[in-house]
């Protein structure tokens, strides 16, 4: 069961030019007050940080001209927060929860009456850069907010060091308007340091593999000893218990030309078709880049069929490395056997795959 995301808003990814993300989120801003403003990464919205707003941003139908840089955003959601694709829950929820408290404000939230700058609430998005700049001058306390501390895997040290300054409290007055997130908290320093990784996070918009969950410092309140132990233990158990049983079977997937690899849990799928669809979605961002660079309608919305064509065309071939260390073509053996023998996968350029198929076919013939 997917937990509904409380009060979260992801930015709308409209016509993705550079980076395709899947379905965009539209969170409806019902409160028509001036507090709800659109924001985006570049702060291109015209409702810039005015003094009275309580930094709600409802992002509706983002202008087509703005670059969707959502994919490059560092997502900082609470544990349990979803990546932008799970939109329907989000939308419904968002529209009915006007009075909900913000889940996880990065900065103190101001009411209409506050004269200080609009505080920005975090829920998985960063604040527009210009907003961040505005925020800096007025709010000295948060000028160095280390929101970045929450990005999980490498942040285990950060968690200890960086304070919960990120987790600033709500304003003392009840917040009336719904606090949606669109603002990204100022992250100058963290941005710099995390740039190489931000791209990794960006394609965390995938629906099959859970996005790297950001963490709130010290939440959930479990002793760090226990947290660390469980992390190690479950990892070990996975390794030990590769077969029979319900544990996950993660394999790495690389794609030629992509800057980083992905991992999928093969147990999530029951057939090749599902896997293939998932991989298409996962690696679409890279293919689009290719598409653009090859001159084919760079700014068009990339449809799934086009993607399929791309992948099923002579462009790419899906291969895997089996237990013997040989590279095989995916699809030859029954799914169950595939799961058991597959150690990792590679999406090869068609040109590289020449000669692979016949050998693979021969090998599986020998096996059978």
């Amino acid at each position: 069961m997917t937990p509904p995301l409380l009060g979260g808003v992801e930015e709308v990814a409209s016509s993705a030019s550079l980076l395709a993300s899947s379905t965009s989120v539209e969170s409806v801003c019902e409160n028509g007050s001036a507090e709800l403003k659109e924001r985006n990464y570049m702060g291109l919205s015209d409702s810039s940080s005015s003094g009275d707003s309580s930094a709600i941003s409802a992002v509706t139908g983002e202008s087509k001209t703005s670059l969707n840089l959502k994919a490059t955003e560092l997502r900082l959601g609470l544990p349990g927060s979803q990546s932008p694709e799970r939109n329907s829950d989000l939308c419904l929820f968002a529209s009915t929860q006007l009075d909900e408290k913000p889940l996880f404000p990065l900065h103190p939230v101001n009411d209409n009456h506050g004269s200080s700058m609009p505080k920005n609430l975090l829920l998985g998005n960063k604040r527009g850069f210009s907003d961040a700049m505005d925020g800096f001058s007025e709010d000295k306390f948060t000028s160095e907010s280390e929101v970045n501390a929450m990005l999980s895997p490498r942040s285990s040290q950060n968690l200890g060091l960086k304070p919960g300054s990120i987790l600033e409290n709500l304003s003392s007055q009840p917040v009336k308007a719904k606090e949606l997130v669109g603002q990204k908290p100022a992250q100058e320093r963290p941005l710099v340091s995390s740039d190489p990784r931000s791209n990794n996070r960006s394609s965390a918009n995938n629906s099959t593999v859970p996005a790297t969950k950001a963490q709130v410092v010290g939440w959930p309140p479990i002793r760090s000893f226990r947290k660390n132990s469980l992390a190690t233990l479950s990892k070990n158990t996975e390794e030990v218990d590769g077969k029979a049983g319900a544990s996950a079977l993660y394999v790495k997937i690389s794609m030629d030309g992509a800057p980083y690899l992905r991992k999928v849990d093969l147990r999530n799928y029951s057939a090749y078709k599902e896997l293939s669809l998932a991989l298409e979605k996962m690696f679409s961002c890279f293919t689009i880049g290719q598409c653009g660079s090859h001159g084919t309608s760079g700014r068009e919305m990339l449809t799934e069929s086009k993607l399929k064509d791309l992948l099923h065309g002579s462009e790419y071939v899906l291969t895997y490395e089996d237990k013997d260390g040989d590279w095989m073509l995916v699809g030859d053996v029954p799914w169950e056997m595939f799961i058991e023998t597959c150690k990792r996968m590679r999406i090869m350029k068609g040109s590289d795959a020449i000669g692979l198929a016949p050998r693979a076919v021969e090998k599986s013939r020998n096996k059978n």
């Binding site: 408290k101 200890g160 919960g164 410092v217 010290g218 002793r223 947290k227 132990s229 479950s234 030990v240």
Partner: protein, 574 residues
């Protein structure tokens, strides 16, 4: 009473066990103070900075056992920087100097160095028992010193400590003549263990009642140990990886059958997910079961095991047991008093239990008085039902993984649910809140939670009023810890004298400002008001700016020892 000789009074005081009662006794008159002080053997110091060790040694000249707690509770969750403090060395040194006849040392959340362990082992010839919970700073070398030099050691209990493993042979440092061991728990150690030394140690310890092994102890060694020590009451299995068809496994089954006395079972740190059935035979005797470190056990295996545990009083498990599993617990474990359900995947943030599991438990386990429950969601209706079914809660800790999640059905705040809990459970001493909460819940807490001693608040409340309700209403409050809630100076300064009736107050990511903290410190010299200023967030400038400068982390506590001298740079005591 004044006409009784001192010895009679002393004898009468022997029957007064609890610290609170003894503290009360000591306040009756000077005579009673004097007698109670020299006759008290077990001393409890809830905050190691509240008093200096010399003063403790001086007052309690008959001291044999001391319990010390160091860091604030939220240090467990990485909210306190590592060098904050809580060093045990000054205590051991002072006691050694004062020639205290120390026999037992119990520490929680303290920094224990190898030097302190060595000093400890050499300074107290009658030393018998060392219990370290959530401590850090020592290595297996320190343990080796304890093993080697504490000739009368009965108990070495290491719970959830962060120990640097030097792969030394600390276990072989127990002298061959040492036969006094009653309790040995090294489950938290991560490194290799000298297995033959362990077996020999167990073999020569006829009084061994409690043994908790680490992951480094494989199944065959466990089997041999069980043969040697069938008298065990408390067993912590280390590694439980095996092949169910093997010879070793059959031997294990035989060995377990002989352990009729085992009442408490834990561990399974490395576990093959099936075949816990070897332990089914001892399950009917178990009163305590802790499988919270065994994520590899499947829920159906867990359930099969639990079906045999009719006498269970204490259960710690992972949420992979699911709501259905909790229903089985509810129908099987009628004597259950304490339940803890931990999330099996704390990073992903999805728990496999919901309010249904909790309600099922409350229906089946009428004796339940202590719960720690990590769940995916909760509803007011469920909490109200639980309150009705189980009015005996002494500790109630609920953690919804999404910290401001409202009622999953009505989307309302969970004020009413928690309100029902505090209203029904008249004996509630400890409460942890989570979920979407407004000031209303604090109004209820202030009104009803008369016995409440410890309250943990996170991401809750709307205004200063919330905290004010609590401070006004909870007369017995001792520890209050708050994070990420909108309470500011007005609440902090409302009743400054109250803090001297409490052990400590923690506030982080709230609205209190430096000005407020300074004002408090000025009015209450009997408190240490510490500001934890990591990464130079704040500048210690005077003037009106203080009122705009929010304090990220504040920890205040009453103390007779004045400002502590071991505070690191980033801690300012105002």
């Amino acid at each position: 009473m004044n006409y009784f000789p001192d010895e009679v009074l002393e004898h009468i005081f022997d029957f007064v066990g609890s610290h609170k009662d003894r503290n009360s006794v000591s306040q009756v008159c000077k005579l009673w103070y004097r007698i109670e002080s020299y006759s008290r053997q077990t001393v409890f110091v809830g905050n190691c900075y509240a008093i200096g060790p010399e003063r403790v040694a001086e007052r309690f000249s008959g001291l044999k056992s001391i319990t010390l707690k160091g860091k604030p509770h939220f240090a467990d969750f990485n909210l306190v920087p590592p060098d904050w403090g809580g060093f045990v060395y000054p205590w051991i040194e002072a006691f050694a100097r004062s020639r205290v006849g120390l026999e037992e040392l119990r520490l929680k959340r303290m920094v224990v160095s190898d030097e302190s362990l060595e000093l400890l082992s050499r300074s107290f010839p009658n030393f018998k028992s060392l219990v370290l919970v959530s401590c850090e700073g020592f290595t297996t070398d320190g343990l080796a010193a304890v093993a080697a030099y504490c000739r009368q050691l009965k108990e070495l209990d290491l719970q959830e400590n962060d120990v640097e493993d030097h792969r030394g042979h600390w276990l072989s440092c127990f002298p061959e003549s040492s036969t006094s061991l009653v309790s040995l728990n090294f489950a938290c150690l991560k490194g290799d263990i000298n297995l033959p030394a362990l077996e020999r140690l167990v073999a020569r310890s006829p009084n061994l009642k409690s043994l908790r092994l680490s992951r480094a102890v494989p199944l065959d060694v466990l089997q041999r140990i069980l043969i040697r020590a069938p008298q065990l009451l408390d067993l912590g299995v280390g590694s439980y990886l095996h092949d169910p068809d093997s010879e070793n496994y059959n031997k294990l089954v035989t060995a377990i059958q002989k352990c009729k006395s085992v009442r408490s079972l834990s561990g399974f740190l490395d576990v093959a997910p099936h075949c816990l059935s070897a332990f089914h035979i001892i399950c009917p005797n178990l009163t305590s079961l802790n499988l919270s470190y065994a994520p590899g056990i499947y829920d159906n295996e867990l359930i099969k095991l639990i079906r045999h545990c009719h006498k269970l009083q204490r259960l710690w498990i992972l949420d992979c047991i699911g709501d259905k599993g909790l229903e089985v617990v509810a129908s099987t474990c009628k004597d259950l008093e304490e339940l803890r359900v931990f999330p099996s995947d704390p990073y992903v943030g999805q728990a496999a239990v919901t309010e249904e599991g909790l309600v099922a438990i409350s229906r089946g386990c009428q004796k339940l008085n202590s719960i720690l429950y990590f769940c995916q969601q909760m509803t007011n209706a469920a909490l109200i039902t639980v309150a009705k079914n189980c009015p005996n809660f002494v500790r109630f800790r609920l953690c919804i993984l999404d910290p401001t999640k409202p009622d999953a059905v009505t989307q309302q705040p969970l004020d009413e649910g928690f309100g029902a809990i505090v209203q029904a459970c008249k004996g509630l001493k400890r409460l942890s809140l989570s979920g979407l909460l407004t000031d209303q819940v604090f109004l209820y807490i202030g009104m009803y939670a008369e016995q409440l001693e410890m309250l943990s608040i996170a991401f809750a409340g709307d205004s200063d009023k919330g905290m004010q309700y609590v401070l006004k209403g909870c007369k017995k409050l001792r520890k209050l810890e708050i994070r990420d809630s909108p309470f500011g100076n007005a609440a902090l300064l409302m009743d400054v004298a109250k803090y001297e009736t409490m052990r400590s107050l923690w506030m982080s990511s709230c609205e209190v400002t430096l000005g407020g903290c300074k004002a408090l410190a000025k009015r209450m010299p009997g408190l240490n008001v510490e500001i934890i200023n990591e990464n130079d967030q704040m500048e210690f400038v005077g003037g009106c700016d203080d009122d705009r400068q929010k304090v990220e982390k504040m920890y205040l506590y009453r103390t007779l020892a004045g400002q502590r001298r071991d505070a690191p740079e980033f801690v300012w005591t105002l």
